[in-house]
Amino acid sequence: EADIYQTPRYLVIGTGKKITLECSQTMGHDKMYWYQQDPGMELHLIHYSYGVNSTEKGDLSSESTVSRIRTEHFPLTLESARPSHTSQYLCASSSKTYEQYFGPGTRLTVT
């Protein structure tokens, strides 16, 4: 089992609050990703990073931002949460052979 961690696992927060979802991996992977997934639905890539100080937006437009100051850490921030942000957020990292290892996810509910 891969070592990738996400906190918090569950978060209920009010509209307008700023939140940061944490993601860390201990495998030394250069590539990391954030996906958004609604229940029973496909995964949508919202951010990715090829390494330190490298971040790109994914295929699904998102109001969130990310940073990559350290290889092992890839946090995602929402400056002002809205009910439309309610979803599951999955962090992943990949090795040189491109299989992706996912964290347990953060289930976000914005009221």
């Binding site: 990703y33 029973g40 496909e42 995964l43 990715y48 999955l90 992943a92 992706q100 996912f102």
Partner: protein, 112 residues
């Protein structure tokens, strides 16, 4: 852009029956990966196929990559209740450094 279409969206089987999900693309794929996501869980990598016509087996699971590299299948023989979950195919975006395009997933339910 590149897309992979996955069918069926849902499959309900009796325990012991076989199950197959298909992943199709209109363009040639450089590789195909398969993931399993248990209910309430996160996707877990199962396998990667890269060669035309490649077949790989993991116990009761058989993965195939088409000769033209435009389709793939995952077949489960004699399903068990532990097979319940959503199975996703995904393909790497060539030289775009590890980004994956995921199919819509096939949700498998198994009735004991």
């Amino acid at each position: 852009g590149q897309q992979v279409m996955q069918i069926p969206q849902y499959q309900h089987v009796q325990e012991g029956e076989d199950f197959t999900t298909y992943c199709n693309s209109s363009t040639t794929l450089s590789n195909i990966q398969w993931y399993k996501q248990r209910p309430g869980g996160h996707p877990v990598f199962l396998i990667q196929l890269v060669k035309s016509g490649e077949v790989k087996k993991q116990k009761r699971l058989t993965f195939q990559f088409g000769e033209a590299k435009k389709n793939s299948s995952l077949h489960i023989t004699a399903t068990q209740t532990t097979d319940v979950g959503t199975y996703f195919c995904a393909t790497g975006m060539g030289n775009q450094g590890g980004k994956l395009i995921f199919g819509q997933g096939t949700e498998l339910s198994v009735k004991p």
